[in-house]
């Protein structure tokens, strides 16, 4: 089953969200509207809105209420990407020029701040204190995760716990929050929205680990950036941590820095792929997915549950 087929029954609502996203990013300032539209047109999986809508289906599904949360979360994600591109000095995202490349860093900062504020405005239509506590804590954790990422760059002595905490903050928490907040907007009982948070968390962890694996096993064409780019940038991911258990390989890897040549990188990438690092990382990713499936099995049986299960399966098998 294709990824989008898993939730095709949401198509009308997702189209509505797409239209509302366009309205939401528009501003009285033409440049901001243009930048917002530029970001939307670059596409994206809209995975957060999908999780919000599906999770809301465990309660009373009212698209008018739920769409606000879905839009807010997607815009928070967009805002973070705009700032991430300044952080990484990135020229392209999904094959299109980034805001900072099309305009400059200052415009990117203002656009990101504008979008973040816009998302909170939308989010406050949900008069639920618990929801705001969850989202605000998530946002703080995501920021801390990004700061940690800078701190941990090229630190070849970091351990698995540091890596897992980092990807939890960087990726898993916002997906977990999407599930939980969708459920809260649907008015589900606490026992259910807590489970949906855990489901999102496990799937998010698996998603990021898969991303980190693909950085070595995919192609430059599919990734839209050089293979091994994360390592070259100093991000020590799970495959790297496993590969470094081999002393000889660790010696080579720990010499990587921002100016390591392509030839040197290619040799290291080949060595990592030849080791058991990739298969061991896949196992960890699968373990998280399994936990996600277990949580799902505790939830009421409905088409949203089937769709979440299909999405989780896709995440485990995706190739890019």
């Amino acid at each position: 089953m294709k990824f989008k087929m898993a939730y095709s029954f949401l198509n009308a609502d997702l189209d509505l969200i797409e239209q509302e996203l366009e309205k939401t990013v528009s501003s009285t300032e033409p440049l901001l509207s243009e930048a917002g539209l530029h970001l939307l047109q670059a596409g994206g999986k809209r995975i957060r809105p999908v999780f919000v809508l599906l999770s809301a289906m465990f309660g009373e599904y009212d698209i008018e209420k739920v769409k606000k949360v879905a839009i807010a979360l997607e815009i928070i994600h967009m805002a973070s990407l705009v700032h991430d591109d300044v952080i990484d000095d990135a020229e392209l995202r999904r094959g299109k020029p980034t805001i900072k490349a099309k305009w400059d860093n200052r415009i990117a900062m203002y656009t990101g701040d504008y979008l973040f504020a816009r998302s909170l405005e939308i989010m406050t239509s949900l008069e639920n204190v618990a929801a705001h506590q969850i989202l605000s804590k998530t946002i703080v954790e995501v920021s801390l995760g990004e700061i940690e990422q800078i701190k941990d760059k090229y630190d070849y002595e970091q351990n698995l716990r540091v890596y897992l905490r980092r990807i939890k903050r960087k990726t898993a928490l916002l997906i977990a929050a999407s599930c939980q907040l969708g459920a809260i907007a649907g008015g589900v009982p606490e026992s259910v929205h807590r489970k949906l948070f855990l489901f999102g968390y496990y799937v998010g962890m698996s998603f990021q680990i898969t991303d980190d694996i693909l950085d070595f096993t995919s192609t430059e064409e599919e990734l839209g950036k050089p293979v091994g780019g994360d390592l070259l940038q100093g991000n020590i991911t799970l495959p790297v941590l496993y590969a470094m258990e081999d002393d000889e390989l660790k010696q080579k890897i720990s010499k990587v820095h921002s100016r390591t040549t392509k030839e040197e990188m290619d040799e290291i990438i080949r060595a990592i792929i030849a080791s058991d690092a990739i298969s061991r990382s896949v196992k960890v990713s699968d373990m998280y997915l399994e936990k996600g499936f277990n949580i799902l099995s505790e939830l009421p049986r409905n088409r949203a549950r089937s769709a979440l299960s299909s999405i989780a399966k896709y995440i485990g098998k995706r190739k890019f």
């Binding site: 700032h83 952080i87 705001h132 506590q133 700061i147």
Partner: protein, 268 residues
């Protein structure tokens, strides 16, 4: 009067605690706290019947927003940076995001969704005007000046509306407008004095719009008078806060006049 300074110092300490992050502190300068904005937020909330702790928390959240916005103004656009500078820029971006998250988290803990919305609306508006100024897309002088002052006052205006601060809303807006225009005046005169072979009557500001010295002088005088009158009339009975605000306002004027005297004595 001493009490006010003690209170302000206490709030500032609490703000410092919120802002402190060991890794950020190692690589980027400590965020600047605008003492005047702190004083003006204090003045706004001092007029309310809110419990002290709540007042302090509101002031801290509003200041976090201001600091987050100011932090992002520091992000450089340079293409060529040394490794350390690059890292610093990365952390400045993240610091601003982190401070934004903190204000949201604090207000969520206070269970005040209305204030979250209020601050978000102000941030949205400020960034719209920042872009207008940065892109020099203001259509005329009035809209340029309006944007310049909106960036400075929007946060106060929205907070004032939310807490129904009445006349204090006008007071803070006038105060901040005066301070901002004084800065423009100071920049204008400094650049005019340093220009040679130029009539020095006009200064290019933000590209498309030009200040004139006369206009700035008139504007500053008008805002000074308005602010002073509002400080006089906003308090039902004489208070320490009133004295502090007035003293602060007059110190701006005094410093500005001293500056001109020095420039004149130096023959510039």
């Amino acid at each position: 009067m001493q009490d006010i300074y003690v209170q302000l110092a206490k709030i500032k300490d609490a703000l410092h605690v919120k802002l402190t992050h060991p890794f950020l502190a190692k690589y980027i300068p400590s965020p600047m706290i605008d003492e005047d904005k702190l004083l003006l937020f204090y003045a706004l909330f001092d007029q309310t019947d809110l419990p002290e702790e709540k007042k302090e928390n509101y002031i801290i959240t509003a200041m976090l927003v201001q600091i987050a916005l100011d932090t992002h103004d520091e992000v450089s656009t340079s293409a060529h940076l040394r490794q350390e500078e690059f890292k610093q820029r990365q952390l400045i971006v993240l610091a601003g995001d982190y401070f934004s998250g903190l204000y949201y988290a604090l207000l969520s803990e206070m269970q005040d969704i209305g204030m979250i919305r209020t601050l978000a609306t102000a941030i949205k508006e400020i960034n719209e005007h920042k872009i207008r100024l940065y892109e020099q897309s203001a259509a005329d002088f009035d809209s340029f000046t309006a944007s310049l002052l909106k960036v400075e006052t929007s946060l106060f205006e929205h907070v004032s509306d939310y807490i129904q601060a009445g006349i204090f809303s006008r007071l803070t807006t006038a105060f901040l407008s005066y301070k901002r225009l004084l800065l423009e005046k100071s920049k204008y005169s400094s650049e005019s004095h340093h220009r040679t072979g130029d009539s020095a009557k006009k200064k290019k500001n933000a590209g498309a719009i030009e200040w004139t010295g006369v206009y700035l002088k008139e504007f500053c005088n008008r805002y000074f008078e308005e602010t002073a009158a509002l400080i006089e009339s906003s308090f039902q009975q004489p208070s320490s806060l009133q004295k502090v605000l007035l003293a602060r306002l007059q110190s701006f004027k005094y410093n500005q006049e001293m500056r001109y005297t020095t420039l004149a004595e130096e023959g510039l």
